[in-house]
């Protein structure tokens, strides 16, 4: 589903991603972990062709990420998701559906499904300027789910959410995982990652430190947090 082959990204003299290679298979729930500035968001941006690699190759669904069609079955929730303030949540979802060529009754059905799934019933016709950060995040997740993508790329999905919101997202991701959706999760909430994901990779200063099953990484009563700190501090 996702392939990174010797990917390097440099911004001037700064190496944001350094010769990283890994893959994520279909149906896998994968977490990319690392401290701030490790290069996690850069990898997400590379996957979506928001920026081009200095070296190496990336593919989604077997297509090079430079091909727009590679994003045909991808849902994406960015970190600090935003919705234009003049649009309501419903209008925003409808636009997302239109971009995927979903029209008419089908679009309405999908948008209603996304609204229900994210628990935003009753607020979907309000202007987004009246939404809290958590509500915008929920609509963002709903928008990412429009078109029922095969791959969901989430960059800090719990940012701005209260504990109930975080729990709701976890439950939602668990149900999507059961339905066979591939999830690529970029998060600092390690306790949540441990509950949802099967596999994880840790990167530090742009370099891949480890990529393994979470059950293999966490041993002898450790938590994922202990493993993360060990890799990040000790290298």
């Amino acid at each position: 589903m996702i392939e990174l082959d010797a990917v390097t990204k440099k911004y001037g003299s700064l190496v944001a991603v350094d010769n990283v290679s890994f893959s994520v298979g279909a149906g896998e729930c994968f977490a990319l972990l690392g401290p701030n500035g490790a290069g996690k968001t850069t990898i997400v941006k590379l996957l979506l062709d928001f920026t081009r690699p200095t070296a190496g190759h990336l593919s989604l669904n077997g297509l090079s990420t430079t091909n727009a069609k590679s994003r045909a079955f991808v849902g994406y929730l960015p970190e600090n998701h935003r919705i234009p303030t003049h649009l309501s949540g419903w209008q925003y979802l409808k636009r997302c559906a239109a971009l995927l060529d979903i029209k008419g009754a089908d679009a309405d059905k999908q948008c209603q499904w996304a609204v229900t799934l994210t628990g935003m019933q009753g607020r979907e016709h309000d202007k987004s300027g009246t939404y809290s950060k958590g509500m915008i995040q929920r609509f963002g997740l709903g928008a990412a789910l429009i078109g029922r993508p095969k791959l969901l790329i989430l960059d800090e999905p719990a940012a701005g959410l209260d504990p109930i919101g975080i729990r709701d997202i976890r439950r939602l991701l668990e149900s999507l995982k059961k339905d066979g959706m591939t999830v690529f999760l970029n998060s600092h909430l390690l306790s949540e990652v441990e509950k949802i994901c099967d596999n994880a990779a840790v990167i530090r200063r742009g370099r891949l430190m480890v990529r393994d099953k979470i059950s293999s990484l966490v041993r002898d009563g450790d938590t994922l947090e202990d493993v993360f700190i060990r890799f990040v501090k000790e290298g």
Partner: protein, 279 residues
């Protein structure tokens, strides 16, 4: 008839752009002010005009006033085009629209094409509506039907395209206001070069130049030759209003000139946006 997939995305993005721009209060306010201003021109079509004690033919006056109004509207729409285009990429980036669109199966080319098409169609429609008001005034008040206004309006849309492309390109490389000022500068220099050229080729100018050392390739001549001929396109369009017609291949030069500039700037815009990092 089914629209090809690539074009369907472009048309969809263009419709989003039109909806986003047209709903802005400032845009609606400018449109209303322009319409009211044009309605005030009505008064110019009535009354007798005298020149050297002779009554001037009212048909000539109507055509002249219509042409002046035509130029003012076309110039005003170009300014509006620059105003709308200068913030479009930055605003899309700021409110998350850009990342939302480009995370879907939409290429950067389609995104930029949608923005260009949306702005172009919206501003051309604005120009046609404003010119249409003048057409209605001349038809109703002066009983002089001049449908050439509409074809002239379409010709002027080439200038709109030029301004949209140039401002979009410059807004990626400099602050928005600097991009706006640059385009205004391009227009002003073009008008000045046309003016200098016209003066030099007028009988008075020819007579004055006989006393000076002849220099066929002055700076102004070079500027006149290579500079985007926005005013030339406008003059060509205006020449279609009334019974004048247009004067053959000489008038095709400004169209060709601005058309070539549009192609070059368009290519640069696509190339530059392809290199942009999306946030």
């Amino acid at each position: 008839m089914r629209v090809p997939e690539n074009w369907a995305s472009v048309i969809r993005l263009a419709s989003f752009t039109i909806a986003d721009e047209a709903r802005q209060k400032s845009f609606i306010a400018i449109l209303i002010i322009c319409a009211l201003f044009i309605l005030m021109v009505r008064g110019c079509y009535h009354g007798d005009y005298m020149m050297n004690g002779q009554v001037v033919d009212s048909a000539k006056i109507i055509i002249m006033v219509s042409k002046i109004t035509f130029h003012i509207i076309a110039g005003g729409v170009l300014f509006l085009a620059a105003l709308l285009s200068m913030r479009i990429f930055r605003r899309d980036r700021g409110d998350g629209t850009q990342s939302c669109i480009l995370s879907k199966p939409v290429s950067r080319r389609q995104y930029v094409s949608g923005k260009i098409l949306g702005l172009w169609v919206l501003l051309t429609a604005v120009m046609i509506v404003l010119h249409g008001i003048v057409f209605l005034i001349t038809s109703v008040s002066a009983n002089m039907v001049m449908p050439e206004f509409f074809s002239a309006s379409i010709w002027c849309s080439l200038n709109v395209l030029f301004v949209v492309l140039t401002v979009l390109l410059l807004s990626m490389m400099m602050p928005d206001i600097a991009a706006l000022l640059c385009v205004i500068g391009i227009g002003m220099i073009g008008v000045a070069a046309d003016g200098v050229f016209a003066v030099r080729h007028s009988p008075i100018g020819q007579a004055m130049m006989q006393h000076d050392a002849p220099s066929d390739f002055s700076v102004w001549q070079i500027i006149y030759t290579v500079w985007p001929k926005l005013f030339g396109v406008q003059s060509f369009a205006a020449s279609r209003i009334g019974a004048e017609g247009f004067g053959g291949p000489v008038f095709a030069v400004p169209i060709l000139n601005v058309g070539i500039y549009c192609m070059i700037i368009g290519a640069l815009l696509f190339w530059r946006f392809g290199k942009e990092d999306i946030d």
